[in-house]
């Protein structure tokens, strides 16, 4: 019958389409972004951060970077605490992405110091030699438009002050995007709770290793450390490591757990074995020879 009656077919097709739509798309609004998933401490973006977010959108960063950490072992170890619904209430649009050509950025905020981001955005390959990320140094040449940003804040109904808008004068697009990256995922104090506590005595398994063996660990150093501490430990963003005289266990702890306030990320995801190799490399490689 419906094969001969187009109106009936249109009505039935609309009905068929609406059932799944209402149940899986409309119904979740009853739970999502309500008291049910609210998280204390999640704040709206500041004017500078919001502008950075809009620039992240403009440049299509979401084509290569995701912003959701899944509750899976490898995701949590690599990126940090898994993402929660309440953390995204101020995100218009969502930026979870669908492809990790580059790493997930949901927990990037606070991982590195600002200077790391400026340098990395300017020339990603100077920090990560074989990356395929394009250079974004040109963002520094574009000044922000405070009036437009104020309009955006009003549209979004986010709180702002006149001083805050005035302070945008003279800032550029790079400042905004770095401010945004530093906010990502930092509304919940996950870093503190994820901090690994080292129990028991730390015993260097490679004590007294010879220079030839140390040399094979240089690759490990250049992949993980040289971007900030320099190819020859001379110091770049991070301090020079030559001449430092930390005890082995202190050095291990710094690398393993990081220094939250000092901009040193935790490298616990490398595992104890690789961290011990780095401890030995940093402490002893430069002692016997000049490099």
């Amino acid at each position: 019958m419906w094969e001969k009656k187009p109106v009936l077919l249109l009505v039935l097709a609309t009905g068929a389409i609406l059932v799944g739509t209402i149940i899986t798309m409309v119904l979740p609004f009853a739970w999502v972004n309500t008291e049910a998933d609210r998280i204390e401490g999640v704040k709206p973006y500041t004017a500078l951060q919001q502008e950075g977010r809009d620039l992240y959108i403009r440049e299509g960063c979401n084509n290569c970077h995701t912003q959701t950490v899944r509750p899976l072992v490898s995701d949590v170890l690599r990126y940090g605490e898994y993402s929660k619904s309440g953390e995204f209430v101020y995100d218009r649009p969502f930026l979870w992405g669908s492809k990790r050509t580059g790493p997930d950025l949901a927990r990037l905020g606070g991982k590195y110091p600002d200077s790391w981001h400026y340098k990395h955005m300017e020339s990603p390959r100077s920090m990560v030699p074989r990356t395929n990320m394009p250079d974004y140094g040109w963002l520094s040449a574009n000044l922000l438009d405070p009036q437009m940003i104020q309009r955006k804040m009003e549209t979004l109904d986010f709180p702002y002050t006149a001083d805050e808008i005035a302070s945008l004068e003279g800032k550029n697009e790079m400042d905004a995007i770095v401010a945004y990256l530093q906010k990502l995922g930092s509304d919940i104090p996950w870093r503190e709770s994820a901090q690994t506590e080292i129990v028991g005595d730390l015993v260097n398994p490679y004590a007294g290793v010879d220079h030839g063996t140390l040399e094979t660990w240089e690759e490990l150093y250049s992949q993980n450390c040289s971007a900030c501490h320099g190819e020859h430990m001379e110091g770049v963003i991070g301090p020079a490591l030559i001449g430092e005289d930390y005890d082995e266990d202190v050095l291990f702890e710094i690398i393993y757990t990081g220094i939250a306030d000092g901009g040193m990320p935790s490298f616990s995801s490398l595992g104890t074995d690789k961290v011990w190799k780095l401890v030995n490399f940093i402490k002893y490689y430069n002692q016997d020879e000049n490099h």
Binding site: E3, K4, P6, L9, L10, A13, T14, A16, I17, L18, V19, T21, T24, M25, P28, V32, N33, D37, I57, E59, G60, N62, C64, T68, R70, L72, S74, L77, R78, S83, S85, E87, F88, V89, D91, R92, P93, F94, W96, G97, S98, K99, R100, G102, V128, R130, N132, P134, D135, M148, R151, T155, N224, S268, S269, L270, G271, T272, D273, K274
Partner: protein
């Protein structure tokens, strides 16, 4: 002969313009595939991967895909209803507005005006243009159906009508936004809600724009090409209604393990697996229609395109549900496996059907025989091999990268840093770019063949006799 009254001019125009935008889509695709290998090929601010990739996807979907839908539907609806198009003027307006919309999309995306929502990146003024375009199209198709002379509506018309309604509901809902300026708006939904609404759109745009319409084409052009009817009418009824009912539940399979409520994810997973049935209903209906006709695979290049197309549809709708299962998604999601899946659908399924449809239409709308069937065969092998290189290399890459992301040391730490896994992708990205080039070559041969047909093809002498022999449906 009534065919004299049919509006074939509009079909010709949409064929030509859809092919133009198809070439743009593939060309930009090849460019961005090289940008992924060498970042020095990015030329900021306009020609960067981040801005070009949406142009590739949107030119493919809205320019090539929707362009072919407009072309074939305008042809099919007139033939199946045995009446001319309801309004030639509206169709003409639609043609010009279509090109204006695609050009406006490309320019604004290059300028960086984007909502960032995948396959829906264009900002609100262009969303409005797309809605106007779709309404014009819907009115013309539905009014033509209303005044049809053939009482029974053939399968293709069901899929057309479902697609028209489905796309309208999806697109309008996902477009909702609050403008700040002419080129910037904020989504009406926030965070997790926005994600769920968006992938309800994203997945069902695939259903309503890239599944239902190619099925409408397949159900029409396969019997037309082979000369034998579809195997089972009953099977096509069951497949149609279950397909359009089940698809809408599955959007959240793009969001497995994200903060979207678990029960939404579970429903999406379950319905995705169930979708194998209606999808394969159409695949089997196609295969069984070939009973006693398989020799045509050798003799009739149109059949070759159509059967390979429906085969990739079958593979796509097995692989898709597999990826929609939580455990497998946990492993493979976010890797290069996913673009490989998408491209089997677009380059294999949708485009194979589109090429066959256009080859079928050419003699009928231009009155000229296709210039070279050997070239059409060469094109077939180039796009088939190009697509297989493309997809297989990235499936391998995806499994490799997923394995490295998940690899762990005995102390529970990760074996590889992110960069150690990324650099392993380069050889596969080279292979993918090469596959894209082979596909592009096939497309260029297609365009050459079309150009020569229009300019130099032999006139079709027996057109009326052929049309009469084929019957109305």
């Amino acid at each position: 002969m009534e065919s004299q009254n049919y509006n074939y001019a509009i079909v010709r125009s949409f064929v030509v313009w859809s092919v133009v935008w198809g070439l743009v889509a593939v060309l930009v695709g090849v460019i961005v595939s090289f940008q992924m290998i060498d970042p020095d090929l990015n030329f900021p601010p306009y020609l960067t991967f981040g801005r070009l990739r949406p142009i590739h996807t949107n030119a493919g979907i809205y320019g090539w895909g929707v362009g072919v839908i407009f072309a074939t539907f305008f042809y099919i609806v007139q033939r199946l209803c045995k009446v001319p198009l309801w309004s030639d003027k509206l169709a003409k307006f639609q043609l010009w507005f279509f090109n204006a919309t695609i050009i406006a999309s490309a320019v604004t995306l290059l300028m960086g005006y984007t909502t960032s929502k995948e396959y829906h990146e264009m900002e609100w003024p262009i969303d409005l243009m797309i809605i106007i375009l779709w309404v014009a199209f819907a009115i013309n198709i539905i009014m033509t159906i209303f005044k049809r002379k053939e009482e029974q509506m053939y399968i293709s018309l069901w899929y057309m009508m479902a697609a028209i309604i489905g796309v309208a509901i999806l697109f309008v809902t996902n477009s909702a936004a609050v403008p700040v300026s002419l080129f910037k708006s904020y989504s009406a939904y926030a965070g997790t809600n926005d994600a769920n609404v968006h992938w309800w759109f994203g997945h069902n745009a695939v259903a309503m724009a890239l599944t239902a319409p190619p099925l409408a084409m397949f159900y029409y052009f396969l019997p037309k090409s082979t000369g034998v009817p579809i195997y089972s009418h009953r099977l096509s009824i069951v497949a149609f209604w279950s397909l359009i009912f089940m698809y809408l539940w599955t959007g959240a399979h793009h969001l497995l393990w994200t903060p979207v409520p678990d029960w939404v994810q579970t429903l999406a997973m379950g319905f995705s697996v169930m979708l194998i049935a209606p999808s394969w209903g159409s695949v089997f209906n196609g295969y069984l229609s070939m009973n006693g006709q398989w020799h045509q695979m050798r003799e009739n290049y149109l059949v070759k395109y159509l059967i390979l197309g429906i085969t990739f549809y079958g593979l796509q709708t097995l692989q898709g549900p597999m990826q929609a299962v939580r455990t497998f998604s946990a492993f493979i999601h976010y890797t290069d496996w996913v673009p490989a899946h998408i491209h089997m659908g677009t380059m294999g399924w949708v485009s194979m059907i589109a090429f066959a449809s256009i080859y079928f239409l050419i003699p009928r709308i231009y009155g000229r025989e296709v210039y070279s069937i050997p070239l059409a065969n060469l094109q077939f092998w180039l796009i088939l091999i190009g697509q297989l290189i493309w997809s297989i290399s990235l499936w391998v890459a995806g499994v490799l990268q997923a394995g490295m992301w998940n690899a762990m040391n005995s102390d529970g730490s990760l074996t590889y840093t992110f960069m150690e896994t990324m650099v392993e992708m380069y050889p596969y990205w080279w292979a993918r770019a090469f596959g894209g080039l082979v596909y592009l070559l096939g497309l260029v041969i297609f365009i050459y063949n079309l150009y020569m047909t229009i300019g130099k093809g032999r006139p079709v002498i027996t057109q009326n006799a052929a049309v009469a022999a084929e019957g109305g449906a």
